[in-house]
Amino acid sequence: MKSDELSFFSKKLLELLKEFKEIEIDNVEINADELTLIVQPIVQAIKPLETISVPPLPKLPEELIKVEFVPPIETYQGHVVEVKIGATKSEGGSRGKVIKIGGDKTLPFYSFEQINPNKPVFAMDVFDMPLTLPKPVKQHFQEVMEDPAEWAKKCVEDYHADMVSLNLISTDPSIKDTSPKEASKVVEKVLQAVDVPIIIGGSGNKQKDPLVLEAAAEVAHGERCILNSVSSDMDYKRVVKAAKEHGHIVISFSPMDINNQKKLNRLLLDEGLPKEQIIMDPTTGALGYGIEYSISLLERIRLGALLGDPELQMPVLSASSNAWGAREAWMKSEELGPREYRGPLWETITALTMLFSGAEIFMISHPATLAVLKQIVRDLYSESEVESEQKPIDWIIGVK
């Protein structure tokens, strides 16, 4: 028997996948070639089966030999730093609530050892201008793409995102070259539109981003936002200074290298940024496009944190929406089946893989990914109202 909560989840997920599905004529076209492909079953001539000589029966123990299982508990010297995101009115901000991540004292979902204190959280991507998005994502946001505030609202109100990740891509000199001042007006609007904590991202332009993030940090003074991101080859000092002055968190981004990640973390700590104000992004490779490097990176980072390496003890962010960079996620292909399902599933599996490798804060594009990840996390923290059904389902008979 399923509880209402689960039926609701399933129904909701199905809606998210099917709701906007278009019926495309070219998907249902039947070629003359296909019509001739009716499978001709080969019915074998029935002949008597060869029998075998039955080997002698072995000797049996009469009773089951009882052996007790003891959970393999280990102890760790270190733990992941706890980071508080967002600030309420009493803390000098205007967020509805504060989100905490990190603080882990064991590996991801080793709850037989202990339950880590904070659940992973999920931010949805919002952009400050309409852009080319993969079709399965775009169909959910088409009508709000002109207005980042409405876009953010949709993420929070309709899809229940824990956070919003605002990407100020129009500031890129080769896109619109929006000034830091103009861009920070969008930050203010989004902060007014939603009361969840936010991530503020630049355009990825190394020269411009420090200026954009600096201006955004100022208008968001006291809100304890996440500034996304700094790397060693840009003016990170400017961003760190703004984060310290206005009370924000900084993402320490390094492309797929644990040693460079450590070095950058060290540089940030040396600038006087408290470790409680740093989150790492060691790069999420899309499923099929380098996710294996990310798996090993995240696992090594968490093991390092538990071993007590202070340069690896910050929580890890996964930009799981990178999954959409994989052509298998967005490309129309009759051979591979409808992208309306294939695309979100590609992102869902990328995010789940990162979740089980140790990521604690996520950037996600598709509402179906968000729905699945939130449900899985609720279940893994056994906060779900659904009681564990201890009687196993007899799948041998039951599979439809």
Binding site: T51, M256, Q390
Partner: protein, 471 residues
């Protein structure tokens, strides 16, 4: 007791140390090193077979036997090896024996449907980065609860499909009826499953016919250990463990804990009772009332991916939708690649097809995945061109543009050092769509005209057809 991976010197200690070279290695030390990395097998050392080394050989076998036993299901070149795991994390040593994926067949379907499904399973194939992704086995379910029908379907499947099979029933008589057919027995099928209730009968079958058998002990690892222990005492050594797949509410938490605890007990605590491969059944999601085909395929795929990430060595699935299986197979491919394989290819100039002085010049990065994808798209499009491969430290286009490894200066240096200028009579460079923002900088530095190519290399062919006017 903690099981640690065996050291090079320890292995070397038990080798003949004569450096005879009969194994093809330069020295016994080199052999030892390959042995640990599982790149060579012990039988290649022929001197070890001499009687005087018998004790050393036995010691070596004990040393290098993985803490998670390797089990073979099926026969011949389609046989599937599962388990054989030595580490908890893939960065410690390449994971061996990729998680096998079986698809179920119900004995309630009519014969024609069964044959059709078998053919679909066996012919399922997707090519990704030069590898064929395939399904490995067929799991036959005794859903009819008829002993005769189950046996009939088992032989029908064996006749129509060359993949290894799993015989699924909790009824020992159904299993017996199926395996007492010569063609079925000869396939070396996996039995599913011995339980708290039927362990005597099913254990006896496994022993009698020397078949691998799964132990099913839902959410009870003490019972699991007891069953394994008892069956091992009976002399049944080829086991798989199914601690049950509960995917709702607290059940999911229990499932994940069970998987982690089984694997950690085997690898880190040397628990012999739990040192067997894990079998999981994501197909369980199809046992809900009125399953929706899309929703259940979607769920089954993401649960399968969680189980792949958490030590499952064999999965029984139900969906045959390509959109659902492709990401699961892709994840398996990723997890089981060599973690220390080079991330990058040699930078420089590649000549693809038979280009002439009017052929296009394209540029990409030296990240292996990017490079091979671009190369295969160009080749499959039958395009002749020059491809510049930029040293981005093994990063993709997106990461290296963001990370500052894909720069205009780098492009300029590559154009100069590669000698591409002497190969073509034009100065037009096609850059990846994802590197569009570097267009101006590259033009300024190189004085070449930059064309911004497609966002994805699958569109290179149509891009060239549309925009490449022979200079």
């Amino acid at each position: 007791m903690t099981h640690e991976r065996v050291s090079l010197l320890e292995v070397y200690k038990y080798l003949p140390q004569t450096n005879c070279g009969k194994c093809g290695e330069v020295s016994c030390m080199a052999f030892a090193s390959k042995l640990i990395e599982r790149k060579i097998t012990l039988d290649k050392c022929t001197p070890l077979k001499e009687p005087k080394y018998k004790e050393k050989l036995n010691k070596l076998i004990e040393l290098i036997t993985p803490p998670v036993k390797e089990i073979i299901i099926g026969v011949g070149d389609k046989a599937v090896k599962v388990g054989g795991k030595e580490v908890m994390y893939r960065h410690e040593l390449t994971f061996h024996n990729p998680t096998a994926i079986a698809i179920d067949v119900s004995d309630k379907m009519d014969d024609e449907k069964i044959i059709e499904r078998c053919k679909l399973i066996e012919s399922f194939q997707v090519t990704r980065i030069g590898q064929q992704l395939k399904l490995d086995m067929v799991a036959i379910r005794c859903a009819s609860q008829s002993i005769e029908r189950f046996a009939e379907v088992a032989s029908l499947v064996v006749k129509n499909c060359s993949l290894p099979i799993i015989l699924c029933s909790f009824d020992p008589e159904a299993l017996r009826e199926a395996i007492e057919q010569k063609i079925v027995l000869e396939r070396n099928p996996l039995l599913y499953a011995a339980t708290e209730k039927n362990w005597k009968e099913v254990g006896m079958l496994a022993k009698q016919y020397k078949l691998p058998v799964t132990i099913f002990s839902p959410n009870d690892l003490s019972m699991m250990k007891s069953l394994v222990h008892t069956l091992r005492r009976m002399g049944v050594e080829d086991l798989l463990l199914d601690p049950g797949f509960f995917y709702e509410g607290k059940g999911l938490m229990d499932t994940i804990n069970n998987l982690t605890m089984i694997r950690r007990s085997a690898i880190r605590k040397g628990d012999k009772d739990l040192g067997y491969p894990i079998l999981m059944v994501p197909a369980v999601v199809w046992a809900e009332e009125n399953p929706d085909p899309i929703l259940s395929s979607y769920k089954e795929a993401y649960f399968a991916s969680i189980l792949l990430n958490r030590y499952a060595d064999l999965l029984i699935m139900h969906t045959l939708e390509k959109w659902a299986l492709l990401p699961v197979l892709t994840l398996r491919q990723a997890i089981y690649t060599d973690p220390i394989k080079p991330v990058s290819v040699e930078p420089g100039l590649r000549i693809i097809g038979q280009p002439n002085e009017k052929s296009p010049v394209l540029i990409t990065t030296n990240f292996a995945l990017t490079y091979y994808t671009v190369e295969s798209d160009i080749e499959s499009g039958k395009i002749s061109c020059y491809l510049l491969v930029l040293d981005t430290g093994g990063l993709s286009v997106q990461s290296s543009v963001a990370g500052g490894q894909f720069t205009a200066a780098g492009v300029r240096d590559l154009i100069l050092s590669s000698g591409v200028e002497s190969k073509v009579k034009h100065k037009k460079l096609i850059i990846p769509g994802l590197a569009a923002r570097l267009r101006g900088d590259i033009e300024d530095l190189t004085k070449w005209e930059v064309m911004v190519g497609p966002m994805d290399s699958s569109e290179i062919k149509s891009f060239l057809e549309k925009y490449w006017k022979t200079p």
